[in-house]
């Protein structure tokens, strides 16, 4: 079994895994980082979005070994010693979730958006969320939350 090493939320991790192990399985099953969810088996829902070397990727559509040597960020790494990240806070303030299943992926996608576009319009947010599906909220409050989160991050 190949050894896979990467940095996850700032910590170096290393494990022997079967080559077919998906990045999402590695995060959830080997590292017990279960904040990254799996909502489909067709790469469509976006519940599994993490950042790999600073850009958003679907961790269900990538092998763990493809991320060998990479810097990976998951939802668990966002808070600052228990203080929510401004984007997480914005989801709470704006009621941007109901069941919460899609939320980790939404937040990670939103952060990649803000990095590319610090002040996204409603249309920008809706287009960017093409790969993130929510079956509860109807998206309205998610869009509001992301715009509010972006504003909070601009300071």
């Amino acid at each position: 079994m190949p050894t896979v090493s990467m940095t996850v939320n700032g910590k170096s991790v290393s494990a022997d895994v079967e080559s077919r192990t998906l990045l999402v399985q590695f995060l959830r099953e080997h590292l017990a980082l279960t904040g990254t969810h799996v909502g489909c088996d067709t790469s469509q829902c976006g519940a599994c979005v993490v950042h790999v070397n600073g850009v958003s990727a679907k961790s269900c559509t990538m092998l763990a070994i493809q991320a060998d040597g990479a810097d990976v960020a998951t939802i668990e790494g966002l808070d600052d010693n228990g203080t929510l990240h401004p984007m997480q806070e914005a989801f709470r303030d704006n009621h941007g979730l109901q069941c919460g299943f899609c939320t980790p992926g939404m937040v990670m996608s939103a952060l990649d958006l803000v990095k590319n576009n610090p002040s996204p319009s409603e249309q920008d947010v809706r287009e960017w969320l093409e790969g993130n599906i929510c079956r509860c909220t109807g998206y309205h409050n998610i869009v509001k939350a992301i715009q509010a989160g972006a504003a909070a991050m601009r300071g």
């Binding site: 790469s43 559509t61 493809q66 093409e130």
Partner: protein
């Protein structure tokens, strides 16, 4: 089963010379195809070969390396002849897919619905194939042989897409029809590249995908358009009958043959109008 992830091209070619391997670039086509099953035999993962990534303008041609992602392309500053390819980039899955998926992977996967193919056919794209022994070039139209079939030999890696500069002229446009706006397999898609001189079309390149096993250029319609004055009247020459002389569209769950022919003609009218700047 062995998983190879070299950092140099030479090592990758040596691995391919040693026996058949499944090549993995972004893995976005490969992974859903195998789902949770075991990986198909030995793997060559080219994702760590830094030298394969990037778009470079040379004296004679543009070169898109095999590691270049759709996001890399969408963010690059390129001439207007690339517009169709850039529009296609934004249609590939969602942002996260565009961040990992490669343009070359889209071609090598040889799906009839691959959005990159029509946009590259109109740029007279060639593929550069390298093995440990030699390098050869094949026009894209001769590379894709059928559904999921390419002319790549098992010891070869596609290392780049090469676009001759004479074809990088004018402006291009891409139009795609799917059953919904996002995350959808195309019913039909078209790409058009038009160069204009003194209000007349001096060059036309048109391609249709998702209607036949392999996307097609529409050579007789292209010649028919050359010399015509740009304007709304162009649309009259781009009709379903003209499309039908090039492709006999397939019928499947996403649309009948007749629907596809009409849809493709309408997409072409829009793409030509946009590319000619008369929309």
């Amino acid at each position: 089963m062995e998983y190879g992830r070299p950092t140099e091209l030479d090592e990758a070619l040596a691995l391919l010379a040693g026996g058949r391997r499944t090549i993995l670039a972004g893995g976005t086509d490969l992974y859903p195809a195998i789902a949770a099953a075991a990986l198909p035999g030995d793997i060559l993962d080219i994702g760590a070969i830094a030298g394969l990534r990037g778009i470079v303008e040379g004296a004679e041609a543009w070169r898109i390396g095999a590691g270049t992602t759709w996001t890399d392309l969408a963010r690059a500053t390129l001439p207007a002849a690339f517009n169709a390819l850039k529009q296609a980039a934004l249609e590939i899955g969602s942002v996260q897919i565009q961040n990992t998926a490669t343009i070359v992977g889209n071609l090598c996967n040889a799906s009839p619905a691959a959005d990159g193919v029509p946009a590259l056919l109109i740029l007279d794209a060639q593929l550069e194939l390298q093995s440990a022994e030699k390098t050869r070039h094949l026009p894209l139209k001769d590379f894709i042989l059928g559904v999921r079939k390419t002319a790549r030999r098992s010891n070869e890696l596609v290392t780049a897409i090469v676009l001759p500069k004479r074809a990088v002229s004018g402006r291009s446009d891409f139009q795609k029809l799917g059953a919904r706006r996002y995350l959808v397999i195309s019913i039909a898609m078209v790409a058009a590249r038009i160069a204009v001189e003194d209000d007349r079309i001096s060059e036309a390149a048109l391609a249709i995908g998702s209607c036949s096993a392999v996307a097609q250029r529409l050579s007789s319609l292209e010649s028919d358009l050359v010399g015509r004055r740009i304007g709304p009247a162009l649309a009259e020459h781009i009709c379903a009958a003209a499309v039908a002389t090039h492709v006999a569209p397939i019928a499947d769950i996403r649309g009948s043959a007749e629907y596809r022919t009409h849809a493709a003609a309408e997409l072409l009218r829009r793409a030509v109008a946009n590319a000619a700047g008369t929309a």
